[in-house]
């Protein structure tokens, strides 16, 4: 699985990747709600949430997904955040 997330990637596409929700929550950004997945790009969500360093957030997210690809079972229940 190779996912390269950028600030232009739609949030709903990102949360489909199993386990990414834990990364978001761990970093104080909820990408889902009763409205469903945030209906815009990751860049817009990070702007609304006033994330100080969006580039670092995205870089960390990509690393997290890469790590998950190597160990998918460990994230199944979202317990590893």
């Amino acid at each position: 699985m190779s996912h390269m997330i950028t600030k232009d990637t739609q949030v709903e596409e990102i949360v489909k990747i199993n386990g990414t929700i834990s990364y978001f929550i761990q970093h104080g950004v909820s990408p889902i709600s009763c409205s469903g997945a945030f209906p815009q790009s990751l860049g817009n969500l990070l702007k609304i949430k006033k994330v100080v360093d969006p580039d670092a957030f995205i870089e960390g997210l990509n690393e997290y997904i890469a790590g998950m690809s190597q160990n998918p079972a460990g994230e199944k229940d979202g317990q590893s955040a």
């Binding site: 709600s33 009763c34 209906p39 955040a81």
Partner: protein, 490 residues
């Protein structure tokens, strides 16, 4: 089980069922993962057709008399009632909430909403004022036009009723988008609306927020937007409305305080904790997710709540005995479990639950045990951020002043409750908390006839009350000179 819904749904535009231009999508039962139906996704052109149909309908709908609008609203309510069992089961299957809640709360409240606004519309009156003996001012309310409405997945039919009933009562036409997680009850409602309303008065477009939802926000044809959902998306709705220079009503997130004093009505109060955080699996914008308990009763109250939480039957939502059903989807489960882990790292202790349930035939669904986090500090993330699950954060307080300060230490202000037999204290605490709704000795009661909406980042506007009609209408002032004389300036 025979599924009560169709296997395929299209879009409801201009009184007809039409294919959408976007991709089709499946809606699944979160309780067991089974596909329930295939739905159409409205593309930009479909949204445009819906808006144009609504404007065509508005030409005549705006002049329909209040008597006739009342008759139609009552007819809608009657037809919903005749189909109540079917609507309840569809809502339960699509959302995962227990059948006892959809039968006992969601569907009856939705029906009553149409009846309430059927009554209200006949009591609406304008005003007349004599500015002086020769000058009369008439103040009238007129429908605003075509309204775009976007509703969430946690109370699909109820939220549709909250939005549609006042808009129809006001004389507006509507393009409404349900959540792509739970479109089925609204699509079934559209069948009822088709029997009662002229074509185009209500149009239902289904699809994702990132496509259909955004097409609604981008469309220049709306005169008002109405939204229930997260604060994050609320910013986008407000931004879209500002760019069009149109009003928006927003009902957004919350982190509400449920406050218990030593003189609370004990048994009812224990149930009040459950009503606050377990109702609808905690997926309620005004959930009582912060449970403030006075230090004098804290240990005993916590222990009895733990006992009560552990007795709650979590099960398949269509079974009559189930008290708590499935969360909406897998991602929501992961979000809840992530917050529980964060709470533990912050120093909270899991007093009850705290885990996913997969035993007892629940392995294919999205079930989380009723959870109590003890030893929570109001500054912790679990006490400040919306978890949107059955997770109660217990926080100890020593007096009124402290609890009011802590309750107000939140970016939200949607719901809240105080439990006490001291009426003076109830008023002091209810008045001191910055929130749109304070319950006294009850929780999550949301009937029509009492305004509901948020302070701070919980929203703008009040629904479930006749005052919402002000948001769905605009003021016309007719200013009349009764004098035969010239002004004399020219």
């Amino acid at each position: 089980m025979v599924k009560p819904m169709d296997s395929e749904y299209t879009l409801f535009i201009d009184g007809k069922w039409v294919d959408g231009g976007g991709k089709k999508f499946e809606t699944r039962c979160p309780a067991n993962g089974e596909v329930l139906a295939t739905c159409a996704e409205a593309d930009k052109e479909d949204v445009d057709k819906a808006v144009k149909a609504a404007w065509r309908a508005f030409e005549t709908w705006k002049d329909v008399s209040p008597q006739e609008r009342q008759r139609m609203l009552l007819k809608i309510a009657d037809l919903m009632e005749a189909n109540a069992d079917k609507l309840a089961m569809i809502e339960t299957l699509d959302n995962g909430k227990p059948i006892r809640e959809t039968r006992g709360v969601d569907i009856p409240l939705s029906i009553d909403h149409f009846r309430y606004f059927a009554g209200v519309v006949r009591a609406e009156e304008g005003e007349a004022t004599m500015i002086d003996k020769d000058t009369m001012s008439l103040i009238l309310r007129e429908p605003i036009g075509v309204v775009g409405q976007i509703i969430p997945w946690n109370f699909p039919l109820t939220m549709a009723a909250w939005k549609l009933a006042p808009a129809l009562a006001a004389g507006d036409c509507v393009v409404i988008k349900p959540s792509s997680e739970t479109p089925l009850s609204i699509l079934e409602l559209a069948k009822i609306l088709a029997e009662v309303l002229p074509p185009g008065v209500v149009n239902v477009v289904t699809g994702r927020g990132s496509t259909t939802g955004n097409y609604i926000l981008e469309h220049p044809g709306f005169r008002k937007l109405a939204f229930t959902g997260s604060t994050e998306v609320g910013y986008s709705i407000a931004d879209a409305a500002a760019k069009k220079l149109i009003p928006a009503t927003l009902e957004l997130g919350g982190k509400s305080a449920n406050i218990f004093f030593p003189d609370c009505p004990w048994e009812k109060a224990i149930e009040g904790v459950q009503l606050g955080i377990l109702f609808n699996q905690g997926q309620v914008c005004c959930a009582g997710s912060r449970v403030f308990v006075h230090e004098a009763i804290y240990d005993r109250f916590l222990n009895e709540c733990v006992t009560a939480f552990e007795k709650v039957k979590v099960g398949l939502p269509w079974e009559e005995s189930t008290q708590m059903g499935s969360q909406i989807n897998e991602v929501q489960v992961q979000k809840i479990l992530s917050y529980i882990e964060i709470g533990k790292k912050e120093g909270a202790k899991v007093a009850s639950g705290g885990y996913r349930i997969t035993s007892g035939g629940l392995d294919k669904g999205c079930y989380v045990a009723p959870t109590i986090l003890d030893n929570v500090d109001n500054k912790m993330r679990v006490a400040q951020e919306e978890i949107f699950g059955p997770v109660a954060c217990f926080i100890k307080f020593k007096d009124e002043e402290e609890v009011i300060k802590m309750a107000n230490d939140s970016e939200y202000g949607l719901g809240g409750a105080v439990w006490t037999k001291d009426l003076n204290r109830a008023f002091r605490v209810a008045g001191g908390i910055e929130t749109g709704r304070m319950w006294v000795n009850n929780y999550n009661s949301l009937p029509a006839h009492a305004p509901f909406g948020g302070y701070k980042k919980s929203g703008i506007g009040r629904e479930t009350h006749k005052m919402i009609l002000e948001h769905y209408t605009q003021t016309k002032n007719i200013f009349i000179s009764l004098s035969e004389k010239k002004v004399g300036l020219y």
